[in-house]
């Protein structure tokens, strides 16, 4: 699509305005992370004290750790399970595949809060059953002459349930980004490879995987982003003892957010910005190089 200069200027002003709307609150937030005062309204001079304080605030550090850990674990598991099941789904007959894809869409199409409360009710029911079992049954095992007692601990909502919830809402995103790559792939490719003597495993690693890799990577990226950004589902499934950064922020929005949170968000923002820039510059270079080769 081409356009004249005047149009282009108008276009850019429009885009600029929207970006201003999107970024004004973020810039403000970054700005006030350097505030000497404990306020997001009154500016009292430049200071790095909130960055120093951040590293002493166990609650925030712990919640950042939880967020990154649960997101990373959920992304790894969801990417593996999602990729395998996408391959599985596309080897199925349509009759089976269609209803399964509908179920796959449920966590994506459903409102977060419905997913959240549904899982909350489910986990509480399951854990309730487990705790009843654990408090009423003990096993004595005789092993090499000494008696051991096996007891089961009381469980409650926590990191485990949080992780399950994150995996569950991450998988559909992986499947949805791997699926189109599978569809694009020439179906005969795998058969050809196997005809030529590849085992199924070799065919998977040498043929399928390289073909769908871009889909897997973008699926993993989306899954990780969704996990880090999630608040609602975590809120209902993490219980009281585990807290993610989002949950920490939510409880702080009530009492007043301290600039430490601004500081931690600024750090995350800058790290992601740097990563994205690096990735994009590399991609752009690769594209240019490829373009040169063509012409």
């Amino acid at each position: 699509m081409s356009m004249n200069k005047k149009n282009r200027l108008g276009n850019r002003i429009f885009i600029g305005l929207i970006f201003f709307f999107l970024y004004a609150p973020i810039l403000l937030l970054i700005f006030y992370s350097f505030n000497a005062a404990d306020s997001s309204v009154i500016w009292k001079g430049f200071s790095l004290r909130w960055y120093a304080k951040l590293f002493q605030n166990q609650l925030i550090i712990k919640s950042v750790y939880n967020t990154l850990l649960v997101s990373a674990l959920a992304t790894i598991i969801a990417t593996i399970v999602g990729t395998l099941s996408a391959i599985g789904l596309y080897s199925m007959r349509r009759k089976f595949r269609e209803p399964l894809l509908t179920i796959n869409n449920i966590p994506m199409m459903n409102a977060d809060i419905v997913t959240g409360v549904a899982m909350c009710l489910f986990f509480v029911a399951v854990l309730g059953g487990w705790n009843y079992f654990a408090s009423n049954y003990r096993f004595l095992v005789n092993f090499f002459g000494s008696t051991y007692r096996i007891t089961f601990p009381q469980l409650s909502l926590g990191f485990g349930t949080l992780l399950i919830a994150h995996i569950t809402f991450d998988i559909p995103y992986v499947i949805l980004s791997v699926a189109p790559k599978l569809r694009q792939m020439d179906k005969n490719l795998v058969d050809a490879a196997q005809d030529l003597g590849c085992t199924w495993r070799q065919a998977f690693f040498k043929v399928i995987l390289p073909e769908i890799m871009p889909g897997i990577v973008s699926g993993a990226l989306i899954a990780f982003t969704m996990s880090v950004d999630d608040f609602v589902i975590s809120y209902f499934t993490a219980g009281s003892a585990t807290s993610t950064l989002a949950m920490q922020i939510y409880s702080m929005t009530k009492k007043g957010v301290t600039p430490e949170i601004n500081a931690v968000s600024t750090i995350l923002f800058v790290v992601v910005l740097a990563l994205l820039i690096i990735v994009n510059v590399r991609e752009a270079r690769a594209e240019k190089a490829a373009a040169k080769r063509v012409y």
């Binding site: 419905v114 995103y173 699926a179």
Partner: protein, 284 residues
Amino acid sequence: MKNKRSLLAIPYVGWMALFVVAPIIMVVIYAFTTADFSVTGENFTRMSTFTVIFTRSFKLAIIATLVCLLIGYPLSYAMAKEGKGFQRVAMLLIMLPMWVNFLLRTYSMMSIMENNGLINQFFAAIGLFDLINHVFGTNIQYFKMIGTQGAVVVGMVYNYLPFMVLPIYSTLIKMDNTLLEAAQDLGADTATVFRKVILPLSLPGILSGVTMVFVPSVSTFAISRLLGGGIQMLLGDLIEQQFLGGAYNPHLGSAIALVMMVIVVACMWVMNRFGEGEEQAVML
């Protein structure tokens, strides 16, 4: 061989049955029972009490979705017309805010829109209020924004605009340029090309954008709490209140969640029928 490969989906099918289907069945069970788990329809008959909240939620979500579409479509269109490098940077800038927690961004929005916040301070500093008071003989010191439905809509648009832009943009850049040229060669003017070619071709993107904005908007509880000052309660707040908030009743909460889910699914179904979208347009 083929059948063997489809076995790969088994762990996933089991997982989904356990953690997607079973929880929803739990919600249905809770919705149709009372505190002592005797079957009842009472939770649904009480729903009429919440008509105000239902209408408010759907009204604000529809407005927010329309605003997102009205801003998001031209934005995607403008971006798609730019060069490769510009597009790359613009995409990056659209994705980036998602890495700052939405609650924090909304909170920042709140401090901007408070009665004593940045916007009002700015207006006061340039003498806008003095001018208005002088001309109209009123006595206002600020524009009230927090606690209004407008603020909630602004918050929704602010948070969910990227969800509208991403799918529309990705359908627009995939569009075959030769099609447009062909249409122009056949004598169609710009408006006609847009109406007859571009718009229908980008419909899947629009539909998935609308879904991705509408669903979180209609069910949000944090945005309405922060920007609505807690007095513009939406369905999300109502449900949250029944589970972890000030009026414990998970049975009623489940019923409300179920009704909301059914309405949303019905809307999406009708919309997808209308757009005969066989498969969801894929994000990105």
